[in-house]
């Protein structure tokens, strides 16, 4: 099992510092090496800076449409995706910029997609909600709440059908578990014992609606109906999350069948760019408390500094790298051309049949197709 991108932690290596470390701190470091810890910090800082850059770009109109930031939830992106193999599959909803980067899409390709440019990972056609790169096993980016859940089951179905040992990780928001697709997909996954891990990014809210207002049970209760084991993990602790997923992925790879993970996290920004951070449905105090106490980046930083594994200088260096990569992504995006208007009708169909008309708007009237 090797991480998907070069910045990621290398597993299976012994922790760098030896037996003289404080066992409590060590325990909280989950046996990661210094390099691995720095790499995880670098990953999360990249996600943060990248999205801050996107926020800026949105404000000046470089990015349009809906844009859902993952800020605050980066521990989960790194902790759940970095343990995956390159050929494992990820599918998710529309709050997926950092997940896409975690799985191996370059910041450039993601940013260019947000800008709607040809250099984007979906050629500028998909936008923020529809990031795709199947070469790194990232299957989108879906905008209908719950729509990706059956698709994730289908990806896992294909793995099983071919006798492969990959795993599919299917993310969703907490609100998505109230969609019927959730029941149908989990049930089928259980019946066919598909190699899929359903991960709820439980940030407590679906837009302005607290989960407790649309459910009388806790999240953990939602998968038992189908005989799928439920697990809870603290998504703000990237190390705990990483180790947890590392183990779970191996179990699923080994045939343990579908799993359900309640990953507890918090969204530091509004639902999308038009939603204020606090006000209507959650108080300023509530948000502040989370930002202060539960920032996955701060948590890791403090832990590393506390253990003497990170200096202020190193931190600044890592952060500078993250900012540079984000700036570079934005510059790349800005320089990338708009899609060529002549391609408007490309990729509606994979196969243009030699007979008959496929487009009914007059486009291929008299042309080859009609």
């Amino acid at each position: 099992m090797t991480p998907a991108t070069q910045t990621a932690v290398k597993n299976g290596e012994a922790p760098a510092t030896g037996a003289d470390r404080d066992p409590v701190v060590d325990n909280r470091l989950h046996g990661f090496s210094r390099e691995e810890l720095h790499a995880l910090l670098a990953d999360m800082l990249l996600y943060r800076r990248f999205e801050e850059k996107a926020e800026e770009a949105y404000a000046i109109g470089k990015i349009g449409g809906f844009c859902h930031l993952h800020i605050g939830q980066e521990g989960l992106a790194a902790g759940s995706i970095k343990p995956l193999r390159a050929d494992d599959l990820v599918i998710t909803a529309y709050r997926e910029h950092t997940q896409a980067i975690a799985k191996g899409i370059t910041p450039r390709a993601v940013m260019a997609e947000l800008y709607g440019r040809v250099g984007g990972c979906s050629g500028g056609r998909g936008g923020s909600m529809h990031l795709f790169d199947t070469t790194v096993g990232f299957y989108g980016g879906h905008g209908i709440v719950g729509g990706q859940i059956p698709l994730g089951a289908g990806l896992a179905w294909a793995i099983r059908y071919r006798g492969g040992d990959q795993v599919c990780v299917c993310f969703m928001g907490d609100a998505a578990v109230n969609q019927g697709a959730f029941l149908e997909s989990l049930n089928m996954s259980a019946v066919w014992q598909l190699p899929v891990i359903y991960v709820v990014e439980n940030n407590g809210y679906g837009m302005g609606t607290a989960f407790s207002r649309v459910s009388v049970t806790e999240m953990e209760a939602r998968s038992g109906a189908y005989g799928i084991p439920a697990h809870t993990v603290n998504g703000q602790d990237v190390l705990e999350t990483f180790r947890f997923f590392e183990g779970l992925v191996e179990r699923v790879r080994g045939g343990a069948g579908p799993q359900f993970v309640n990953a507890v996290t918090y969204r530091f920004r509004g639902h999308s760019m038009s939603d204020p951070v606090s006000g209507t449905y959650r108080s300023k105090e509530e948000v502040e408390a989370h930002v202060q106490g539960e920032d996955p980046i701060t948590i890791l930083r403090d832990r590393l500094m506390g253990a003497g594994l990170l200096t202020q200088e190193e931190l600044e260096g890592i952060d500078a790298g993250a900012r540079a990569a984000s700036d570079d992504a934005a510059e790349f995006a800005d320089a990338s051309p708009l899609p060529d208007p002549s391609t408007l009708y490309d990729h509606v169909y994979a196969e243009i049949n030699p007979h008959g008309r496929l487009f009914l708007d007059g486009r291929d009237r008299g042309g080859a197709g009609g």
Partner: protein, 330 residues
Amino acid sequence: MAEITYREALNAAMCQEMDRDDSVFLLGEEVAEYDGAYKVSRGMLARYGDRRVVDSPISELGFAGLCVGAAMAGLRPICEFMTFNFSILALDQVINSAAKMLYMTNGQVPIPMVFRGPTGAALQLSAQHSQACETYYVHAPGVKLVTPATPADAKGLLAAAIRDDDPVAVMEGELLYNVRGEVPDEEYVIPLGVAEVKRTGEDVSIITHGKMVHIALQAARALEREEIEAEVLDLRSLRPLDVDAILATVAKTNRVVYLEEGWPFAGVGAQIVSLIQDEAFDELDAPVLRVTQADVPMPYAKNMEQLAKPGVKAVVEACRKVLYMEVGTS
């Protein structure tokens, strides 16, 4: 008569009807505490309480069906879809329950309810969030469908929809919510099935509905500069359909362009063309042309989206074409 926004007009219609009839309630995602994803229900939770203004889980099929069930028992639900894109998940309850119930029950169980929310594209929301859903609601008999284009129509048609004893889909436009216009302050109801000539003209008729009315009016202004007088007929209601108004404008100009936001194949315009050629075959001096979304899923990139959407230029060209003028010179 005050000038208010389309959003406020919808709000006023709901309040008008909720004030007069306790059986009317509003249910949907974010309609209560959040005042609506697009703030259409602003203040309604405070005014009517959480018995009548209700936040639902994200369960489109379920809450649409729940509203149909409540209507079976005689209530008059307003079921808000955050956008009609998401209502595709609920179509089974719309078509198989709401539309067919009265017939299957031999008239015992009317479904006096409203499905409402924005339809069609806003700006750069990409393929899954930019779909005009009229065809899905108008194909099966049993559901009525209105598409207000102005604040006044929004108030009058939504009020009529709430009072109607059948399921009525009210398709709004996200890009219309901030549009301002004169709206009667007093109780105001526009009967379903009455189209409106939004602009008169002799030379060519642009027939359309919903948000595209504004594109049609812009096109008419552009044509005016070429001394072409276009009539703009806003159907307002797709079912019931004001056939008299359609035939009247055809008889007047003998040349027609149908403009709609959605895709061409089995679009609303296809039906209007079919109707016109059937009932006014000899009145036509040219084939009816249609202007629609390009027959592709909506792309995200701004330039591509503009290209895919039906715009003023395409309407002007179609009008010139049905007038047998040279095209592409304007």
